[in-house]
Amino acid sequence: MDTRAAVGFLAPAGVGFVLFLLLPTIAVLVLSFFDWNLLSDGTFIGFQNFVALFSDTRLASIYGSTALMAGGILVINIAVGLLLAVLLETRMPTWIRTFFRFSFLFPFVVSSSAVALIWRFLLDTDLGLVNYWLGLLGIPHTPWLTSTAFAPFAVILVNSWKTLGFSMLIYIAGLQGIPNEVREAAIVDGANAWSRFWRITLPLLSPTVFFLIVINLINGFQLFAEPQVLTQGGPGDSSRTVVQYLYDTAFQSFNLGYASTIGLTLIVVLIVLTLVQFRLSRRWTFYE
C-alpha cells in the first residue's frame, strides 16, 4: 500500500521528468550523429558534428561571452543579493521591510522578455531615457546596446536586476535560519557587528551561498531571453550566449544535428562546473 502511494505521488513528477527531460536529452544525443534540416530525411554522419566543434571559431568566442555574462551575473547576485538581504534583516518598520522586499522580488516574477523589452527602450543610445538622464549630468551618450564593449554589461545589468530578488529571498531565508543563540553568544563575548558578520553570519550562511552559486551559474549559462530581446546577441557575437547560438543553428541554419551537438557541450560544461563547485565547496562550506 505504501509503495503504491509512493508511486502514485511520484508518478506526475516522474512522467514529467521522462517526457520533458530524459527523452529529449536522449533524442539530442542521437540527433547529434545525424545531418537533419527538419524538412529532409536525416542522414547518419557518425562523429562529423563533433569534429566540426573543433573548427567552429564562433563557438569558442560565444562560450567566452557567455562565461563573461554568467560570471558578471553570478558576482552581482552573490554580493549585492547578500548586501540587500542583510540590510533588509536589520531593524526597520515592517511596512518598509515589506515594501523593499516586494520591490526587489517583483522583477523576478515578471516575464524576462517583457523586462528586456522595457530595458531596450531605456538603454537605446540616442533615444533612450538612461542616456537622456546621464546627459543631464553632462555624461556623453553611451552605446549600451550597440558597442561590443558595453552590450555584454547591459545584459548582465538587466538579468541581474531581474534575478537579484530571488537571491535576496534565499539569503533572507538563510539568515533567518541562523540560531539567535549563536549571535547572542558572540555579542556577550564582545564581538562587534563587523566581526559577527564575518565570523558568525557568513560561515553559517555558506551552504546558502553555495546553493546560489550553483543555481546562478547554471542560469547564467542558460541565458536566452535578455540578450535575444536586448541585442539579438550583437553587436557581432559580443553578447551572444551558447543557447542563442544553439537556437540559431537549429532554427536559422536548420542544422538540427550540429545544434544538438552544441547542446551536448553545454550539458557537459555545466556538469563539470557543478562538480568542480561541489568539490571546492568542501573547503569553505560549513554545516551546523
Binding site: 544525443l29 534540416n37 530525411d41 536525416g42 550597440t146 539579438q232 557581432g236 559580443s238 536559422q252 541554419s253
Partner: protein, 434 residues
C-alpha cells in the same frame, strides 16, 4: 551485466525517439484524399493577420459551398522566424495546402521541394491569365525560380522614403523631387537634424535588411548577392559605397545608430525622426492614429535608381491533397474582388500595396494616404529597373548574418571595409546554389 542492459536500453530508447522525430520530418507520408477542407498556413504577425485570414476564409467558403478553410497560425517576429516555424510545422507531420510566402522564402521552399509551380495552371486557366495581365511583371519575376512560377502575389511592397511634411515646412524645405540625389538627401537630412530637440534627419532600421540597407545598396547598382542568388557579393564596391554613406550619416549625427523597425516608426510619428524608409505598412499604423503629416518619395538616386521589391502570396504546397482547390484559393486572394475589399478607407487603410494595378489605382482614387500614394505602384511600373529582395535558400541565416555585421559596422565596432569583408566571408558559405 545490469549496467550493460541499462545502457543498451537507453541507447535503444534514444534511437526510437530520434526515429520518431525523423519519421515526422519525412514528406513522403500519404496525403489526405477527398477532403474538402483547405489547410492554409499564415504568418500570425499580429491581430491584423488573423482578421485578413478570417476574411479570406469566409469569402472563399461563401463562394465554394461545402469547402472549409482552416487557418494555421504560425508565429514569428520576422519572415525568417516564420519560415523556421513553418518548417517545424511541416516536420511535425502537418500538410498544409497553401502557405503564406514572401520573396524571402521562395528559394527556401523551392529548394526543399515544397512548392507546386503554377505554370500549368496559368497556361490552361483563362482566369489566371487575366489576373497575370493586371500584375506588374517585376512582381512575378520576384516569385519565379528558374522557369517555375511559384505563386500569384496577393500582396507586395517596395521601399520608399517617408518624410514628415510638418518638419519640412518648419525648416522651409520644399518637398523632395523624385529625381533627388543622395547629396541632396544628405543636405536636407542635415538641415532637419536638431540635437537640442533630439531630432534626427533620417533613420533606418537595424533589425531588417529590406527597409534597412538594401535600397541604398540597390541605388549604388549593387546587391548583397549575385543575380542568380548563388554567390555573396557583400564586399563589392557598390555595397561599400552605400555603407560608407550610411556610416557617414551616423558619424555626422544626422542618423542614430539604427534602432528597431517599430522604434523607427514610432519615433517618426513623434517627430524625433524627419525621414525614414519602409514599404506601405506604416500607413496602417499612422492613419488610425490620426497621423497625417507625412508623404512619400522614391529613394534618392545614387549611381543609379532601382526599385527594391518584395512580394508574397499563397503558393500551393506539394503536400496538398487538393491542389486544384488550393489553386482556386490562390486565385481568389489575388482576385479583384478580394484586392478591392482590402483597400480599406483613408482612416483605416491596408498596410501593403495591392498586387493588381487596377486596384492600386482605385486605392489612390479613394484618397488612401499619403498624398503621393500612386508612387507605390508607380515605382514598379515607371521604374522597371528592379532589385528583387535577395532570398537565398538559407534566408533566415542570411538575414541574421547580414544584421550581425551591420550592427558591428554601424555601432562603430568595425570599419566599413573590415565589416563587409567579414560579412562576405560569413555569407560565402550561406549563399550557395550547390
Amino acid at each position: 551485466m545490469k549496467l550493460r542492459k541499462r545502457a543498451v536500453g537507453a541507447i535503444a530508447l534514444g534511437v526510437v525517439v530520434a526515429a520518431l522525430a525523423l519519421a515526422g520530418c519525412s514528406s513522403s507520408s500519404p496525403a489526405k484524399s477527398g477532403s474538402k477542407t483547405l489547410d492554409v498556413a499564415y504568418w500570425n504577425y499580429g491581430p491584423e493577420a488573423l482578421t485578413n485570414q478570417n476574411s479570406y476564409a469566409k469569402g472563399f467558403e461563401a463562394e465554394n459551398p461545402g469547402v472549409t478553410v482552416k487557418g494555421i497560425a504560425i508565429a514569428g517576429t520576422n519572415w525568417g522566424e516564420y519560415y523556421a516555424n513553418l518548417a517545424t510545422l511541416i516536420a511535425s507531420g502537418k500538410k498544409p495546402d497553401n502557405a503564406v510566402m514572401s520573396s524571402e522564402g521562395v528559394k527556401f521552399l523551392d529548394q526543399n521541394h515544397l512548392i507546386l509551380p503554377i505554370n500549368d495552371y496559368l497556361k490552361s486557366d483563362p482566369e489566371g491569365k487575366s489576373l497575370l495581365a493586371d500584375i506588374a511583371p517585376g512582381l512575378m519575376k520576384s516569385l519565379t525560380v528558374g522557369k517555375d512560377i511559384t505563386t500569384l502575389p496577393d500582396t507586395w511592397n517596395d521601399m520608399v522614403i517617408y518624410y514628415n511634411t510638418d518638419l519640412f515646412k518648419q525648416a522651409g524645405i520644399a518637398p523632395p523631387a523624385a529625381d533627388w540625389t543622395t547629396d541632396q538627401f544628405e543636405a536636407i537630412a542635415k538641415q532637419l537634424t536638431d540635437k537640442s530637440k533630439g531630432q534626427y534627419g533620417f533613420a533606418w532600421t537595424g533589425t531588417e535588411v529590406f527597409p534597412g540597407v538594401l535600397p541604398w545598396i540597390a541605388n549604388q547598382n549593387a546587391n548583397l548577392v549575385s543575380g542568380d542568388v548563388c554567390k555573396a557579393t557583400a564586399n563589392s564596391a557598390g555595397v561599400e559605397k552605400a555603407f560608407t554613406f550610411l556610416d557617414g550619416l551616423i558619424q555626422q549625427g544626422i542618423s542614430p545608430v539604427p534602432p528597431s523597425s517599430s522604434e523607427v516608426i514610432s519615433d517618426f510619428q513623434n517627430g524625433k525622426i524627419a525621414m525614414f524608409g519602409a514599404g506601405a505598412w506604416p500607413i496602417a499604423t499612422f492613419a488610425p492614429a490620426g497621423f497625417t503629416s507625412y508623404d512619400i518619395q522614391l529613394y534618392p538616386t545614387g549611381s543609379t535608381y532601382k526599385t527594391v521589391v518584395g512580394s508574397g502570396g499563397y503558393p500551393i504546397l506539394k503536400s496538398s491533397a487538393n491542389p486544384d482547390l488550393a489553386w482556386k484559393f490562390q486565385k481568389y486572394v489575388t482576385s479583384a474582388k478580394v484586392q478591392d475589399a482590402l483597400i480599406g478607407t483613408p482612416t483605416n487603410p491596408y498596410g501593403a500595396i495591392p498586387t493588381l494595378r487596377s486596384t492600386a489605382k482605385k486605392s489612390a482614387d479613394a484618397g488612401i494616404p499619403p498624398a503621393n500614394y500612386k508612387l507605390f505602384y508607380g515605382s514598379i511600373d515607371d521604374h522597371p529597373s528592379l532589385t528583387p529582395f535577395p532570398g537565398p535558400a538559407k534566408y533566415t541565416e542570411f538575414e541574421s548574418t547580414v544584421l550581425r555585421y551591420t550592427q558591428l559596422i554601424f555601432g562603430g565596432n568595425e570599419t566599413v571595409e573590415q565589416g563587409l569583408d567579414d560579412m562576405q566571408q560569413a555569407l560565402s558559405t550561406i549563399v550557395s546554389c550547390k
